[in-house]
Amino acid sequence: MSTPDIMLEIKDLYVNYGGICAVQGVNLSIQRGSIVTLVGANGAGKSSIIRSIAGLNRQVTGDILFSRKQGDKPESILGLKPENMVRRGISLSPEGRRILPHLTVRENLLLGAYSRNDRAGIQRDMERVYELFPRLEERSWQKGGTLSGGEQQMLAVGRALMGQPDLIMLDEPSLGLAPLLVKEIFAIIERIHQTGVTVLLVEQNAYAALNVADYAYILEVGRIALEGTGKELLANPQVRAAYLGG
Protein backbone atom coordinates (compact mmCIF):
# COMPACT_ATOMS: atom_id res chain seq x y z
CA MET A 1 0.00 0.00 0.00
CA SER A 2 1.38 3.43 -0.89
CA THR A 3 0.04 6.63 0.68
CA PRO A 4 -2.73 5.99 3.15
CA ASP A 5 -6.14 6.67 1.66
CA ILE A 6 -8.16 8.11 4.53
CA MET A 7 -11.95 7.92 4.28
CA LEU A 8 -12.88 9.41 7.63
CA GLU A 9 -10.81 11.49 9.97
CA ILE A 10 -11.80 12.69 13.41
CA LYS A 11 -9.85 15.58 14.84
CA ASP A 12 -9.84 16.57 18.48
CA LEU A 13 -13.43 15.51 19.10
CA TYR A 14 -15.19 16.54 22.28
CA VAL A 15 -18.75 15.47 23.03
CA ASN A 16 -20.77 17.00 25.86
CA TYR A 17 -23.96 15.74 27.43
CA GLY A 18 -25.23 18.46 29.72
CA GLY A 19 -21.89 19.13 31.36
CA ILE A 20 -20.64 15.57 31.21
CA CYS A 21 -17.78 15.19 28.78
CA ALA A 22 -18.31 11.80 27.15
CA VAL A 23 -15.52 12.19 24.60
CA GLN A 24 -12.44 14.21 25.40
CA GLY A 25 -10.16 15.04 22.53
CA VAL A 26 -10.28 11.96 20.35
CA ASN A 27 -8.30 11.74 17.11
CA LEU A 28 -8.76 8.79 14.84
CA SER A 29 -8.81 7.92 11.19
CA ILE A 30 -10.33 5.21 9.07
CA GLN A 31 -8.57 3.95 6.01
CA ARG A 32 -10.74 3.33 2.98
CA GLY A 33 -11.63 -0.31 2.60
CA SER A 34 -10.68 -1.33 6.10
CA ILE A 35 -12.48 -2.62 9.16
CA VAL A 36 -11.83 -0.34 12.10
CA THR A 37 -13.10 -1.07 15.56
CA LEU A 38 -13.63 0.99 18.69
CA VAL A 39 -13.34 -1.18 21.76
CA GLY A 40 -13.96 -0.18 25.34
CA ALA A 41 -16.09 -0.61 28.41
CA ASN A 42 -19.55 0.82 28.91
CA GLY A 43 -19.40 4.59 29.02
CA ALA A 44 -15.98 4.82 27.40
CA GLY A 45 -17.41 7.03 24.67
CA LYS A 46 -17.65 4.56 21.78
CA SER A 47 -21.28 5.20 20.97
CA SER A 48 -20.83 8.94 21.43
CA ILE A 49 -18.20 8.96 18.70
CA ILE A 50 -20.26 6.90 16.29
CA ARG A 51 -23.37 8.98 17.00
CA SER A 52 -21.39 12.17 16.39
CA ILE A 53 -20.35 10.89 12.98
CA ALA A 54 -24.01 10.11 12.23
CA GLY A 55 -25.04 13.65 13.17
CA LEU A 56 -27.07 12.60 16.21
CA ASN A 57 -25.10 14.59 18.78
CA ARG A 58 -25.45 18.34 19.10
CA GLN A 59 -22.81 19.33 21.62
CA VAL A 60 -19.78 18.40 19.57
CA THR A 61 -16.56 20.30 18.92
CA GLY A 62 -13.56 19.34 16.84
CA ASP A 63 -13.93 18.19 13.27
CA ILE A 64 -14.99 15.16 11.28
CA LEU A 65 -13.75 14.92 7.69
CA PHE A 66 -15.15 12.44 5.22
CA SER A 67 -14.38 11.59 1.61
CA ARG A 68 -16.89 9.24 0.08
CA LYS A 69 -15.00 7.81 -2.88
CA GLN A 70 -11.31 7.46 -3.55
CA GLY A 71 -9.98 10.82 -4.73
CA ASP A 72 -12.87 12.86 -3.24
CA LYS A 73 -11.68 15.89 -1.34
CA PRO A 74 -12.31 15.39 2.40
CA GLU A 75 -15.21 17.54 3.57
CA SER A 76 -16.32 18.37 7.07
CA ILE A 77 -19.53 16.56 7.96
CA LEU A 78 -19.75 17.87 11.50
CA GLY A 79 -23.06 19.63 12.11
CA LEU A 80 -24.89 18.00 9.21
CA LYS A 81 -28.30 16.56 9.97
CA PRO A 82 -28.56 12.79 10.40
CA GLU A 83 -30.97 12.52 7.45
CA ASN A 84 -28.20 13.76 5.16
CA MET A 85 -25.56 11.26 6.24
CA VAL A 86 -27.07 8.32 4.41
CA ARG A 87 -27.17 10.46 1.26
CA ARG A 88 -23.44 11.00 1.67
CA GLY A 89 -22.72 7.30 1.96
CA ILE A 90 -22.67 6.78 5.73
CA SER A 91 -25.13 4.31 7.28
CA LEU A 92 -25.51 3.50 10.95
CA SER A 93 -26.94 0.37 12.44
CA PRO A 94 -27.72 1.84 15.85
CA GLU A 95 -27.21 0.39 19.28
CA GLY A 96 -30.18 -1.69 20.37
CA ARG A 97 -31.06 -2.38 16.70
CA ARG A 98 -33.94 0.09 16.72
CA ILE A 99 -36.06 -2.00 14.41
CA LEU A 100 -39.47 -0.46 13.78
CA PRO A 101 -41.59 -3.13 15.44
CA HIS A 102 -44.88 -2.32 13.71
CA LEU A 103 -43.43 -2.32 10.19
CA THR A 104 -42.79 -5.51 8.28
CA VAL A 105 -39.28 -6.74 7.58
CA ARG A 106 -39.69 -5.59 4.00
CA GLU A 107 -40.88 -2.14 5.07
CA ASN A 108 -37.96 -1.81 7.47
CA LEU A 109 -35.61 -2.53 4.58
CA LEU A 110 -37.43 -0.11 2.28
CA LEU A 111 -37.09 2.55 4.96
CA GLY A 112 -33.35 1.95 4.87
CA ALA A 113 -33.47 2.81 1.16
CA TYR A 114 -35.64 5.88 1.73
CA SER A 115 -33.06 8.32 0.39
CA ARG A 116 -32.85 6.47 -2.93
CA ASN A 117 -35.08 6.62 -5.98
CA ASP A 118 -33.54 3.93 -8.17
CA ARG A 119 -36.20 1.24 -8.02
CA ALA A 120 -34.14 -1.37 -9.81
CA GLY A 121 -31.14 -0.73 -7.59
CA ILE A 122 -33.27 -0.94 -4.44
CA GLN A 123 -34.73 -4.24 -5.63
CA ARG A 124 -31.26 -5.57 -6.38
CA ASP A 125 -29.94 -4.54 -2.97
CA MET A 126 -32.94 -6.08 -1.27
CA GLU A 127 -32.15 -9.37 -2.98
CA ARG A 128 -28.55 -9.00 -1.87
CA VAL A 129 -29.66 -8.50 1.73
CA TYR A 130 -31.94 -11.53 1.49
CA GLU A 131 -29.04 -13.54 0.12
CA LEU A 132 -26.88 -12.42 3.04
CA PHE A 133 -29.68 -13.14 5.53
CA PRO A 134 -32.01 -15.84 4.14
CA ARG A 135 -33.96 -15.74 7.41
CA LEU A 136 -35.12 -12.23 6.57
CA GLU A 137 -36.54 -13.32 3.25
CA GLU A 138 -38.56 -16.05 4.95
CA ARG A 139 -39.96 -13.44 7.30
CA SER A 140 -40.26 -10.53 4.90
CA TRP A 141 -43.99 -10.06 5.59
CA GLN A 142 -43.66 -10.46 9.32
CA LYS A 143 -43.66 -7.47 11.66
CA GLY A 144 -40.20 -6.43 12.84
CA GLY A 145 -41.28 -6.74 16.44
CA THR A 146 -41.96 -10.46 16.09
CA LEU A 147 -38.37 -11.31 15.13
CA SER A 148 -35.89 -12.85 17.54
CA GLY A 149 -32.95 -10.77 18.79
CA GLY A 150 -30.57 -12.26 16.25
CA GLU A 151 -32.99 -11.72 13.38
CA GLN A 152 -33.55 -8.13 14.47
CA GLN A 153 -29.80 -7.58 14.42
CA MET A 154 -29.62 -9.00 10.91
CA LEU A 155 -32.46 -6.71 9.90
CA ALA A 156 -30.67 -3.70 11.41
CA VAL A 157 -27.53 -4.50 9.42
CA GLY A 158 -29.53 -5.22 6.28
CA ARG A 159 -31.43 -1.96 6.67
CA ALA A 160 -28.16 -0.04 6.95
CA LEU A 161 -26.93 -1.76 3.77
CA MET A 162 -30.08 -0.65 1.91
CA GLY A 163 -28.79 2.94 2.09
CA GLN A 164 -25.96 1.90 -0.25
CA PRO A 165 -23.26 3.01 2.16
CA ASP A 166 -19.57 3.38 1.48
CA LEU A 167 -19.03 3.50 5.23
CA ILE A 168 -21.20 1.32 7.44
CA MET A 169 -21.13 1.89 11.17
CA LEU A 170 -22.27 -0.93 13.41
CA ASP A 171 -22.95 -0.10 17.05
CA GLU A 172 -22.70 -3.22 19.25
CA PRO A 173 -24.00 -5.71 16.70
CA SER A 174 -23.23 -8.68 18.95
CA LEU A 175 -24.92 -7.33 22.07
CA GLY A 176 -27.21 -9.87 23.71
CA LEU A 177 -26.71 -12.55 21.08
CA ALA A 178 -25.89 -16.23 21.67
CA PRO A 179 -22.25 -17.17 20.88
CA LEU A 180 -23.20 -18.98 17.68
CA LEU A 181 -25.06 -15.91 16.41
CA VAL A 182 -22.15 -13.66 17.35
CA LYS A 183 -19.95 -15.79 15.13
CA GLU A 184 -22.49 -15.53 12.33
CA ILE A 185 -22.72 -11.75 12.64
CA PHE A 186 -18.95 -11.36 12.49
CA ALA A 187 -18.78 -13.62 9.44
CA ILE A 188 -21.36 -11.37 7.80
CA ILE A 189 -19.37 -8.26 8.70
CA GLU A 190 -16.40 -9.76 6.87
CA ARG A 191 -18.57 -10.56 3.86
CA ILE A 192 -19.89 -6.99 3.76
CA HIS A 193 -16.34 -5.74 3.99
CA GLN A 194 -15.34 -7.93 1.06
CA THR A 195 -17.90 -6.20 -1.14
CA GLY A 196 -15.87 -3.00 -0.74
CA VAL A 197 -17.69 -1.31 2.12
CA THR A 198 -15.58 0.31 4.81
CA VAL A 199 -16.67 -0.80 8.28
CA LEU A 200 -16.56 1.04 11.59
CA LEU A 201 -17.41 -1.37 14.35
CA VAL A 202 -18.16 -0.49 17.95
CA GLU A 203 -17.94 -3.48 20.25
CA GLN A 204 -17.72 -4.62 23.82
CA ASN A 205 -16.81 -8.08 22.62
CA ALA A 206 -13.17 -7.11 22.23
CA TYR A 207 -11.88 -10.50 21.22
CA ALA A 208 -14.19 -10.94 18.26
CA ALA A 209 -13.83 -7.32 17.18
CA LEU A 210 -10.02 -7.29 17.29
CA ASN A 211 -9.97 -10.52 15.33
CA VAL A 212 -11.74 -9.03 12.31
CA ALA A 213 -10.32 -5.51 12.58
CA ASP A 214 -7.54 -4.12 10.44
CA TYR A 215 -7.08 -1.34 12.94
CA ALA A 216 -8.45 -0.76 16.41
CA TYR A 217 -8.76 1.96 19.01
CA ILE A 218 -9.21 1.20 22.67
CA LEU A 219 -11.17 3.84 24.53
CA GLU A 220 -11.09 4.56 28.22
CA VAL A 221 -13.28 7.25 29.78
CA GLY A 222 -13.55 9.35 26.66
CA ARG A 223 -9.95 9.10 25.53
CA ILE A 224 -8.01 6.79 23.28
CA ALA A 225 -5.88 4.63 25.55
CA LEU A 226 -4.28 2.45 22.90
CA GLU A 227 -4.36 1.94 19.17
CA GLY A 228 -2.86 -0.47 16.72
CA THR A 229 -3.70 -3.23 14.31
CA GLY A 230 -6.10 -5.88 15.52
CA LYS A 231 -3.30 -8.42 15.81
CA GLU A 232 -1.02 -6.09 17.78
CA LEU A 233 -3.73 -5.33 20.30
CA LEU A 234 -4.72 -8.98 20.63
CA ALA A 235 -1.12 -9.71 21.60
CA ASN A 236 -0.75 -6.71 23.89
CA PRO A 237 -0.53 -7.85 27.55
CA GLN A 238 -2.37 -4.74 28.81
CA VAL A 239 -5.25 -5.40 26.44
CA ARG A 240 -5.27 -9.08 27.29
CA ALA A 241 -5.54 -8.27 30.98
CA ALA A 242 -8.21 -5.59 30.68
CA TYR A 243 -10.42 -6.79 27.83
CA LEU A 244 -9.70 -10.36 26.95
CA GLY A 245 -9.78 -11.98 30.36
CA GLY A 246 -6.02 -12.45 30.82
Binding site: P82, L111, Y114
Partner: protein
Protein backbone atom coordinates in the same frame (compact mmCIF):
# COMPACT_ATOMS: atom_id res chain seq x y z
CA UNK B 1 -89.89 2.90 16.68
CA UNK B 2 -90.98 2.12 13.15
CA UNK B 3 -88.53 0.56 10.75
CA UNK B 4 -88.71 3.65 8.57
CA UNK B 5 -87.76 5.87 11.45
CA UNK B 6 -84.94 3.55 12.35
CA UNK B 7 -83.49 3.79 8.83
CA UNK B 8 -83.76 7.53 8.97
CA UNK B 9 -81.81 7.61 12.20
CA UNK B 10 -79.36 5.03 10.96
CA UNK B 11 -78.36 7.19 8.00
CA UNK B 12 -78.19 10.29 10.13
CA UNK B 13 -75.91 8.51 12.57
CA UNK B 14 -73.71 7.24 9.76
CA UNK B 15 -73.41 10.75 8.35
CA UNK B 16 -72.58 12.34 11.67
CA UNK B 17 -70.16 9.55 12.48
CA UNK B 18 -68.40 10.02 9.14
CA UNK B 19 -67.93 13.70 9.83
CA UNK B 20 -66.45 12.95 13.27
CA UNK B 21 -64.24 10.29 11.74
CA UNK B 22 -62.72 12.64 9.16
CA UNK B 23 -61.85 15.16 11.85
CA UNK B 24 -60.62 12.51 14.28
CA UNK B 25 -58.13 11.23 11.69
CA UNK B 26 -56.33 14.58 11.81
CA UNK B 27 -55.99 14.47 15.58
CA UNK B 28 -54.71 10.95 15.53
CA UNK B 29 -52.20 11.53 12.70
CA UNK B 30 -50.71 14.61 14.28
CA UNK B 31 -50.57 12.82 17.61
CA UNK B 32 -48.80 9.95 15.85
CA UNK B 33 -45.95 12.06 14.52
CA UNK B 34 -45.64 14.77 17.18
CA UNK B 35 -47.31 13.37 20.32
CA UNK B 36 -49.32 16.58 20.30
CA UNK B 37 -53.04 17.22 20.54
CA UNK B 38 -53.55 19.88 17.91
CA UNK B 39 -56.29 21.93 19.53
CA UNK B 40 -56.43 24.22 16.51
CA UNK B 41 -57.68 21.32 14.40
CA UNK B 42 -61.37 22.18 14.88
CA UNK B 43 -60.71 25.75 13.79
CA UNK B 44 -59.13 24.57 10.54
CA UNK B 45 -62.47 22.92 9.89
CA UNK B 46 -64.23 26.25 10.41
CA UNK B 47 -61.84 28.08 8.10
CA UNK B 48 -62.39 25.44 5.43
CA UNK B 49 -66.13 25.98 5.64
CA UNK B 50 -65.67 29.77 5.40
CA UNK B 51 -63.49 29.38 2.32
CA UNK B 52 -66.39 27.66 0.59
CA UNK B 53 -68.70 30.46 1.67
CA UNK B 54 -66.37 33.02 0.07
CA UNK B 55 -65.74 30.88 -2.98
CA UNK B 56 -69.42 30.54 -3.74
CA UNK B 57 -70.73 33.97 -2.69
CA UNK B 58 -67.78 36.33 -3.12
CA UNK B 59 -66.22 34.81 -6.23
CA UNK B 60 -69.26 33.10 -7.63
CA UNK B 61 -67.47 29.81 -8.16
CA UNK B 62 -69.50 26.62 -8.39
CA UNK B 63 -69.76 24.73 -5.11
CA UNK B 64 -67.46 21.90 -6.23
CA UNK B 65 -64.69 24.26 -7.29
CA UNK B 66 -65.04 26.25 -4.07
CA UNK B 67 -64.88 23.08 -2.01
CA UNK B 68 -61.68 21.89 -3.68
CA UNK B 69 -60.09 25.32 -3.33
CA UNK B 70 -61.16 25.44 0.32
CA UNK B 71 -59.64 22.05 1.07
CA UNK B 72 -56.36 23.19 -0.48
CA UNK B 73 -56.47 26.50 1.39
CA UNK B 74 -57.16 24.83 4.74
CA UNK B 75 -54.39 22.38 4.03
CA UNK B 76 -51.94 25.25 3.57
CA UNK B 77 -53.22 26.86 6.75
CA UNK B 78 -52.52 23.64 8.63
CA UNK B 79 -48.95 23.60 7.32
CA UNK B 80 -48.56 27.26 8.28
CA UNK B 81 -49.80 26.61 11.82
CA UNK B 82 -47.28 23.80 12.21
CA UNK B 83 -44.47 25.94 10.84
CA UNK B 84 -45.22 28.96 13.02
CA UNK B 85 -46.58 27.48 16.23
CA UNK B 86 -45.18 23.97 16.62
CA UNK B 87 -41.90 23.62 14.76
CA UNK B 88 -40.07 26.24 16.85
CA UNK B 89 -41.12 24.26 19.94
CA UNK B 90 -39.91 20.88 18.70
CA UNK B 91 -37.20 20.63 21.33
CA UNK B 92 -39.28 22.32 24.05
CA UNK B 93 -41.20 20.40 26.71
CA UNK B 94 -44.36 18.89 25.29
CA UNK B 95 -46.60 21.06 27.46
CA UNK B 96 -45.29 24.15 25.65
CA UNK B 97 -46.50 22.88 22.30
CA UNK B 98 -49.84 22.01 23.87
CA UNK B 99 -50.23 25.55 25.21
CA UNK B 100 -49.20 26.86 21.83
CA UNK B 101 -51.94 24.74 20.26
CA UNK B 102 -54.56 26.24 22.56
CA UNK B 103 -53.27 29.71 21.73
CA UNK B 104 -53.47 29.04 17.99
CA UNK B 105 -57.04 27.86 18.44
CA UNK B 106 -58.10 31.05 20.24
CA UNK B 107 -56.16 33.12 17.73
CA UNK B 108 -57.86 31.61 14.69
CA UNK B 109 -61.31 31.92 16.29
CA UNK B 110 -60.76 35.54 17.30
CA UNK B 111 -59.27 36.42 13.94
CA UNK B 112 -62.31 34.84 12.28
CA UNK B 113 -64.62 37.01 14.39
CA UNK B 114 -62.69 40.10 13.34
CA UNK B 115 -62.37 39.23 9.67
CA UNK B 116 -65.60 37.34 9.00
CA UNK B 117 -67.66 39.00 11.83
CA UNK B 118 -69.40 36.86 14.41
CA UNK B 119 -72.62 36.74 12.46
CA UNK B 120 -73.53 33.31 11.07
CA UNK B 121 -73.48 33.22 7.27
CA UNK B 122 -75.64 31.11 5.01
CA UNK B 123 -74.16 28.32 2.98
CA UNK B 124 -74.96 27.51 -0.62
CA UNK B 125 -76.41 24.02 -0.94
CA UNK B 126 -76.07 22.59 -4.41
CA UNK B 127 -79.39 21.23 -5.64
CA UNK B 128 -78.04 17.77 -6.35
CA UNK B 129 -77.18 17.36 -2.67
CA UNK B 130 -80.44 18.48 -1.13
CA UNK B 131 -82.83 16.55 -3.32
CA UNK B 132 -84.23 13.38 -1.80
CA UNK B 133 -84.41 9.71 -2.52
CA UNK B 134 -87.55 8.00 -1.40
CA UNK B 135 -88.14 4.35 -0.59
CA UNK B 136 -91.66 3.89 0.69
CA UNK B 137 -91.86 6.21 3.63
CA UNK B 138 -88.10 6.56 4.09
CA UNK B 139 -86.80 9.88 2.83
CA UNK B 140 -83.06 10.12 2.42
CA UNK B 141 -81.46 13.42 1.64
CA UNK B 142 -78.79 12.82 -0.99
CA UNK B 143 -76.39 14.71 1.23
CA UNK B 144 -76.89 12.04 3.89
CA UNK B 145 -75.60 9.41 1.49
CA UNK B 146 -72.97 11.67 -0.03
CA UNK B 147 -71.18 12.24 3.29
CA UNK B 148 -70.44 8.58 4.15
CA UNK B 149 -69.50 7.81 0.54
CA UNK B 150 -67.15 10.79 0.36
CA UNK B 151 -65.70 9.80 3.72
CA UNK B 152 -65.07 6.26 2.54
CA UNK B 153 -63.31 7.57 -0.57
CA UNK B 154 -61.13 9.94 1.47
CA UNK B 155 -60.27 7.28 4.05
CA UNK B 156 -59.36 4.85 1.25
CA UNK B 157 -57.11 7.49 -0.29
CA UNK B 158 -55.51 8.12 3.08
CA UNK B 159 -54.88 4.42 3.68
CA UNK B 160 -53.32 4.21 0.23
CA UNK B 161 -50.95 7.06 1.13
CA UNK B 162 -50.12 5.50 4.48
CA UNK B 163 -49.50 1.96 3.29
CA UNK B 164 -48.44 2.26 -0.32
CA UNK B 165 -46.30 5.39 -0.61
CA UNK B 166 -42.92 6.52 0.70
CA UNK B 167 -44.21 9.48 2.73
CA UNK B 168 -46.76 7.10 4.27
CA UNK B 169 -44.02 4.68 5.25
CA UNK B 170 -42.09 7.57 6.78
CA UNK B 171 -45.16 8.74 8.74
CA UNK B 172 -45.70 5.29 10.17
CA UNK B 173 -42.02 5.05 11.05
CA UNK B 174 -41.88 8.48 12.71
CA UNK B 175 -44.75 7.57 14.99
CA UNK B 176 -42.57 4.93 16.64
CA UNK B 177 -39.01 6.24 16.48
CA UNK B 178 -38.09 9.66 15.09
CA UNK B 179 -34.36 9.32 15.56
CA UNK B 180 -34.06 6.04 13.69
CA UNK B 181 -36.33 7.33 10.96
CA UNK B 182 -34.01 10.32 10.48
CA UNK B 183 -31.02 7.99 10.32
CA UNK B 184 -32.70 6.27 7.39
CA UNK B 185 -32.64 9.56 5.49
CA UNK B 186 -36.20 10.74 6.12
CA UNK B 187 -36.52 14.54 6.25
CA UNK B 188 -38.75 14.49 9.28
CA UNK B 189 -39.81 18.15 9.14
CA UNK B 190 -41.18 17.65 5.63
CA UNK B 191 -43.11 14.57 6.68
CA UNK B 192 -44.58 16.40 9.67
CA UNK B 193 -45.66 19.27 7.39
CA UNK B 194 -47.21 16.72 5.03
CA UNK B 195 -49.07 15.15 7.95
CA UNK B 196 -50.56 18.53 8.84
CA UNK B 197 -51.49 19.11 5.21
CA UNK B 198 -53.36 15.81 4.96
CA UNK B 199 -55.02 16.10 8.38
CA UNK B 200 -56.15 19.66 7.70
CA UNK B 201 -57.50 18.73 4.28
CA UNK B 202 -59.64 16.02 5.86
CA UNK B 203 -60.83 18.40 8.58
CA UNK B 204 -61.77 20.96 5.94
CA UNK B 205 -63.64 18.32 3.94
CA UNK B 206 -65.55 17.48 7.09
CA UNK B 207 -66.21 21.15 7.89
CA UNK B 208 -67.54 21.81 4.40
CA UNK B 209 -69.95 18.90 4.60
CA UNK B 210 -70.87 19.91 8.16
CA UNK B 211 -71.78 23.37 6.91
CA UNK B 212 -73.97 21.85 4.19
CA UNK B 213 -76.11 20.09 6.77
CA UNK B 214 -76.91 23.08 8.94
CA UNK B 215 -76.49 25.17 6.49
CA UNK B 216 -74.49 28.00 7.94
CA UNK B 217 -70.98 28.96 9.00
CA UNK B 218 -69.83 30.89 12.06
CA UNK B 219 -66.45 31.43 13.75
CA UNK B 220 -67.08 28.99 16.61
CA UNK B 221 -68.59 26.19 14.53
CA UNK B 222 -65.39 24.14 14.80
CA UNK B 223 -65.23 23.91 18.57
CA UNK B 224 -67.85 21.28 19.34
CA UNK B 225 -67.15 19.00 16.34
CA UNK B 226 -63.45 19.36 17.14
CA UNK B 227 -63.92 18.35 20.75
CA UNK B 228 -66.14 15.42 19.89
CA UNK B 229 -63.79 14.23 17.18
CA UNK B 230 -60.99 14.40 19.71
CA UNK B 231 -63.10 12.16 21.94
CA UNK B 232 -63.61 9.87 18.94
CA UNK B 233 -59.85 9.67 18.40
CA UNK B 234 -59.31 8.77 22.05
CA UNK B 235 -62.14 6.21 21.99
CA UNK B 236 -60.63 4.56 18.93
CA UNK B 237 -57.13 4.68 20.36
CA UNK B 238 -55.18 7.82 19.62
CA UNK B 239 -52.44 7.25 17.07
CA UNK B 240 -54.50 4.73 15.09
CA UNK B 241 -56.20 5.91 11.90
CA UNK B 242 -58.50 2.90 11.81
CA UNK B 243 -59.34 3.58 15.45
CA UNK B 244 -60.24 7.18 14.67
CA UNK B 245 -62.69 6.06 12.00
CA UNK B 246 -64.29 3.49 14.29
CA UNK B 247 -64.39 5.96 17.18
CA UNK B 248 -66.04 8.59 14.98
CA UNK B 249 -68.73 6.22 13.78
CA UNK B 250 -69.39 4.97 17.31
CA UNK B 251 -69.78 8.52 18.55
CA UNK B 252 -72.14 9.39 15.71
CA UNK B 253 -74.34 6.38 16.48
CA UNK B 254 -74.39 6.92 20.21
CA UNK B 255 -75.34 10.56 19.79
CA UNK B 256 -78.13 10.00 17.26
CA UNK B 257 -79.51 6.73 18.61
CA UNK B 258 -79.64 7.74 22.25
CA UNK B 259 -81.78 10.72 21.32
CA UNK B 260 -83.84 8.62 18.91
CA UNK B 261 -84.67 6.09 21.60
CA UNK B 262 -84.84 8.52 24.51
CA UNK B 263 -86.13 11.79 23.04
CA UNK B 264 -86.49 13.23 26.55
CA UNK B 265 -82.65 13.25 26.75
CA UNK B 266 -82.20 15.43 23.69
CA UNK B 267 -81.08 18.33 25.87
CA UNK B 268 -78.07 16.22 26.87
CA UNK B 269 -77.08 15.56 23.28
CA UNK B 270 -73.56 16.95 23.63
CA UNK B 271 -72.99 15.17 26.92
CA UNK B 272 -72.96 11.65 25.46
CA UNK B 273 -69.57 12.06 23.80
CA UNK B 274 -68.01 13.12 27.04
CA UNK B 275 -69.68 10.37 29.06
CA UNK B 276 -68.13 7.93 26.61
CA UNK B 277 -64.78 9.66 27.01
CA UNK B 278 -64.93 9.21 30.78
CA UNK B 279 -65.93 5.56 30.43
CA UNK B 280 -63.12 4.85 27.98
CA UNK B 281 -60.54 6.62 30.11
CA UNK B 282 -61.65 4.63 33.16
CA UNK B 283 -61.97 1.19 31.60
CA UNK B 284 -59.68 1.20 28.57
CA UNK B 285 -57.43 4.25 28.62
CA UNK B 286 -55.63 3.23 25.43
CA UNK B 287 -58.86 3.19 23.44
CA UNK B 288 -60.15 0.39 21.25
CA UNK B 289 -57.19 0.00 18.91
CA UNK B 290 -54.60 1.99 20.80
CA UNK B 291 -51.33 0.62 22.02
CA UNK B 292 -49.91 1.14 25.43
CA UNK B 293 -48.76 4.69 25.84
CA UNK B 294 -45.76 5.19 28.00
CA UNK B 295 -46.47 8.85 28.53
CA UNK B 296 -49.54 10.98 28.80
CA UNK B 297 -50.27 14.10 26.86
Amino acid sequence: MSLEMFFQHFFNALTLGSLYALIAIGYTMVYGVLRLINFAHGDILMVGAYFVFFGTFAFGWPWGVSAIAAVCGASLLGVLVERVAYRPLREAPRISALISAIAVSFFIESLAVVVFTGQPRPVLQPDWLISEWQWGRVHILKLTAFVPVMTAVLVAALLYILYRTKPGLAMRAISKDIETTRLMGVRVDNIIAFTFAVGSALAAASGIMWALRYPQVHPYMGIMPGLKAFVAAVVGGIGSVQGAVIGGVILGFVEIMSIAFFPELSGYRDAFAFIILVLVLVFKPTGLLGENLKEKI
